[in-house]
């Protein structure tokens, strides 16, 4: 059975209309992982959220990489943004990926998962192809 991230997001919104975007991401990324065996890429999630009008790329976020971070904020937070030192779009993509991977690893409590999440972030920063995320 094929998996649609946008459809999953839509269903989550119906079931949990009170969810903040970060809670929504948490639910959807874990559902995607359970159903497909892979964490969604940052671009896939961003595209799906954009489709549903639930995410603005300009909206600031707190630093990523853990269940308490990487969340879209209402603005004015301690965002770990990017400036002249790094490509802004790349930094945002990498941080979102790290955040999504972190949600899964935190739930699984797997050292292999955390190791792969770290390596995937490193690959993203370097502009390398992102390795598959089997966690096992």
């Amino acid at each position: 059975m094929s998996f649609s991230l946008a459809l999953e997001l839509k269903n989550c919104l119906l079931r949990h209309p009170e969810d903040e975007p970060a809670d929504l991401l948490h639910r959807v990324s874990f559902a995607a992982f359970l159903k497909t065996g892979q964490a969604p890429t940052a671009k896939e999630v961003t595209d799906a959220l954009l489709l549903l009008g639930k995410y603005s790329p300009e909206q600031p976020r707190v630093p990523a990489g853990n269940p308490g971070g990487g969340q879209w904020t209402s603005g004015g937070g301690s965002a770990g943004g990017a400036g002249d030192w790094i490509d802004t779009a790349l930094a945002e993509t990498c941080e979102t990926q790290l955040y999504l991977d972190g949600l899964i690893c935190h739930r699984l409590g797997s050292a292999a998962c955390w190791g792969q999440a770290q390596f995937r972030y490193s690959a993203c920063l370097r502009g390398d192809p992102i390795p598959y995320f089997p966690y096992k």
Partner: protein, 107 residues
């Protein structure tokens, strides 16, 4: 709690670039370390997770190294540490081909 800091210099003008690393902290069963880089025009701060404190600490240190090597300032040859080539900070394996000077030799 910050457990380690380093100041790099950014040319021209030897502007300070402060690197810092926090102690691992337990949060709901996972461990997290935060690394931060204070560039002249802003700060970048990232939390790195692990299943234990060692994994979080080593990962944060390596990804701090990766951030520096991925920066435009490094690629432009504008960063230095204590007059040596390289920064003395470990990197993940995919960044090893990029290491320069003393880093390539000793890390």
């Amino acid at each position: 709690m910050i457990i380690a800091e380093r100041i790099l210099k950014l040319a021209p003008g030897n502007q300070p670039v402060k690197l810092s690393l926090t102690a691992p902290e337990l949060d709901n069963g996972s461990w997290f370390c935060t690394y931060a880089i204070k560039w002249p025009d802003g700060e970048r701060s990232i939390k790195i997770g692990g299943t234990d404190s060692m994994q979080a600490l080593v990962g944060a240190l390596q990804l701090l190294g990766a951030e520096i090597y991925a920066s435009k300032f490094h690629k432009d040859g504008r960063l230095s540490f204590e007059g040596r080539t390289g920064y003395g900070i470990p990197v993940p394996s995919n960044f090893r081909p990029d290491l320069i000077g003393d880093d390539a030799k000793y890390l």
